[in-house]
Symmetry: C2
Subunit: 429 residues, 2 copies
């Protein structure tokens, strides 16, 4: 079998040019393995972009109108690496509708419009792959889809935002403040000038949506779960956690509790010997708990143009490999499960709770009574007067349910001049 697949690519930024260059380098190896030659013939760029030399070097035709790709019957596969939701979504839908396979690295798009895109792919008998959308260089989605078929995943914990992990690593290891760590991340190009998507956990939440789809076949939305980032996180909490044998990490969590799914993005305490604690700086790690394998984790670069481009080309190679199969074009993952959420009273965790209150024993007594009232056991980690004359108390609770935690938080927040400055789940060893 000797076959040729023609590809149109949207975007020739760092990832797009990387895809072209990697395919030039590895195309022969892919052809030997799959019997299919992958050739990028057209690239969509914006008017004014100077890509003439690059296009000549790689025999690409530069086009400026999406129809030159979506309405070109000679193109079999479209690669979307332009980013943003619009017009990427319309372009991808147009390609799928005209029977082209699509490879994209666009996590925002897949997290927000995945269901519609996947249904369109199924309807048109084409494949839609997006390995690069979560943890850029780590082939985690294909691993979840293929290597856990004989297993039952019960929990996925991901350090899936490199920017915040870089910041937290600098805070833990260099004793840097939140502001300094953010400034350094921006200086190194890890964080954008508006870091909202990273520090508020939104980027991690998109990836958690996609991980949930691959772990359980369940399609949840970003509005279905609690998303908290690390904005303004205090070095004092990070250092106190460290004295207790924990590192603070921003964790995208999705777990199966009974027949339901519980997802959350929030800073959490990870035991120093937990594999996730070893994920430093801008790297990503995805830890999986399953009934068969037990514990496993995949570590690698979370972003970067070269790892991302490599993942895109791997998706193209899989499309090549599927050619000639006597079967419908495979989907990246099957949606098997209804959207059922775990009952909050069945979801348990220990918590690290930092509070600031008026320095009055009566107030602290009220908080203690609230804890006892909701049957929350705890031990004190810190109890002292701050420079501002307030009392700072930090406790670590025994495992309690989401319901208990919620009741306790509500009760404490009603007490005059009292606030919970930080609350974090404590991960098990």
């Amino acid at each position: 079998m000797e076959k040729r697949l023609q590809i149109g690519i949207l975007g020739l930024g760092v990832v797009g040019t990387g895809v072209v260059e990697i395919l030039a380098k590895e195309g022969q190896k892919i052809k030997e393995k799959t019997g299919v030659e992958l050739v990028i013939t057209k690239a969509l760029i914006r008017p004014g972009e100077d890509k003439v030399d690059f296009a000549k070097q790689h025999s690409l035709q530069l086009v400026y109108d999406i129809k030159d790709i979506t309405e070109d019957a000679s193109i079999d596969v479209m690669v979307e690496v332009m980013g943003k939701i619009h017009p990427a979504k319309e372009f991808v839908l147009a390609a799928l509708t005209t029977g082209k396979h699509v490879v994209t690295a666009n996590k925002d798009l897949l997290a927000q419009h995945g269901t519609e895109l996947v249904q369109t792919a199924v309807k048109n008998h084409v494949s839609l792959y997006y390995e690069a959308s979560v943890a850029g260089g780590i082939p985690i989605l294909r691993t979840l889809a293929n290597s856990f078929i004989a297993d039952e995943i019960t929990e996925v914990l991901g350090i899936i935002n490199g920017t915040t992990n870089y910041m937290l690593t600098q805070m833990v290891e260099q004793g840097m403040s939140y502001e300094d760590a953010l400034a350094k991340a921006q200086e190194l190009g890890f964080a954008e000038s508006d870091p909202t998507n990273d520090v508020d956990g939104i980027d991690a939440a998109y990836k958690t949506v996609i991980l949930t789809r691959f772990a359980y076949g369940t399609d949840i939305a970003i509005d279905d779960f609690v998303v908290r980032g690390i904005r303004g996180i205090g070095i004092e909490d990070i250092e106190l956690a460290k004295t207790q044998g924990y590192e603070v990490k921003l964790i995208g969590m999705t777990k199966k509790v009974g027949t339901g799914v519980f997802a959350e993005v929030a800073p959490a305490l990870v035991p120093v010997h937990h594999p996730l604690a070893s994920i430093r700086n801008e790297f990503n790690g995805v830890f999986i708990r399953s009934t068969g394998i037990g514990q496993s984790m995949y570590f690698g670069p979370g972003a970067g143009s070269l790892p991302t481009a490599t993942s895109v080309v791997t998706d193209l190679a899989v499309i090549a490999e599927n050619q000639g199969d006597n079967k419908p074009a495979p989907q990246f993952v099957d949606y098997r499960s209804e959207k059922i959420f775990a009952d909050p009273k069945d979801v348990f965790s220990a918590y690290f709770v930092a509070m600031e209150l008026t320095d009055d024993p009566q107030i602290w007594q009220e908080i203690k009574e609230a804890a006892t009232g909701f049957a929350i056991a705890y031990r004190e980690l810190e109890n002292q007067v701050t420079a501002a004359g307030k009392r700072r108390i930090v406790v670590m609770t025994e495992p309690c349910s989401e319901v208990q935690r919620h009741q306790f938080v509500s009760a404490v927040e009603k007490i005059e001049d009292t606030k919970i400055t930080q609350i974090m789940k404590v991960m098990e060893e």
Copy 2:
């Protein structure tokens, strides 16, 4: 498409019964994904084994003669989980020759007779899968074969023997002696009463052979490279390494240097912040350096009946998935490359070298001159008189080639009353 594949299994030990039970539990999910029903119909056991109840429960026919499986045309796939080379090799060859796909967890078999077995599989148009043979629960082989197709792997570093990693972890963390760590590993069932295969690095070497095949398509033999284990390793070297920011780990290494391959199994110094340093106790980790992704690592259980059985069933699911393809049965990995070894003068590493010599400045002067003579720069980590009145000197060298190291070692070993008590590669961050 609705199809049924019948399976014969060799061995109903912990792994074999695990395979039967996992398939009973996950078979429906596999059928939904692949359209193929996997059914184990026969199990080969030894006369005298009491498996009647188990067989009845799972509708298995117990057989005692291999021909009842290899010569049964109704059986499409054979699972070999009996272990050892003989008669497993003959049984696997018989199954492949009669056109049955084979799944095995037998690393000794694959490392020693892989070439012959794979050729037999190719010739008979059947698949031979053995994911469970390396790092039991980690789907590392399929990941190397599939997810690095658009990448160039340059180095694989594996902690691939759980027993020795457990021992080294206990030595580092509990300050235990080699002997006590071994006794504890035996007590917990991680090490056998004759621990040779583990502590002398032989088990890790078999796995390094298989990893080399998957990383580079090159088939090397265990006799082609240096294999050293951790037998009798000194707590003093482990503790000294720790003060320098390193953990001692038994590493199976296979790297590409120019067009050649360099493989080795030996204890090595791993920087504490290297991802491999976080692999503790009986867990395994495989770290990959590649031109596209950069650094990545897969962590998980190295052995255990449940993870191993899960990997076997995943292999079966892949065979199910391949059914109906209009193509020859896929091989697990292609052998692409000739066996070319790296030139030792091109293979560089820093070294940790511990020496014991007569306490005489002249002797130490001779050693220093040998180092200078072979252009090896170093710094002293320790230089003191031992309880036995000898001088113990430990140095850390700058990177030097295999040739330089070899020359230096030979020169030192010629000096009277001088011996190198430990030499370990120092891994880069």
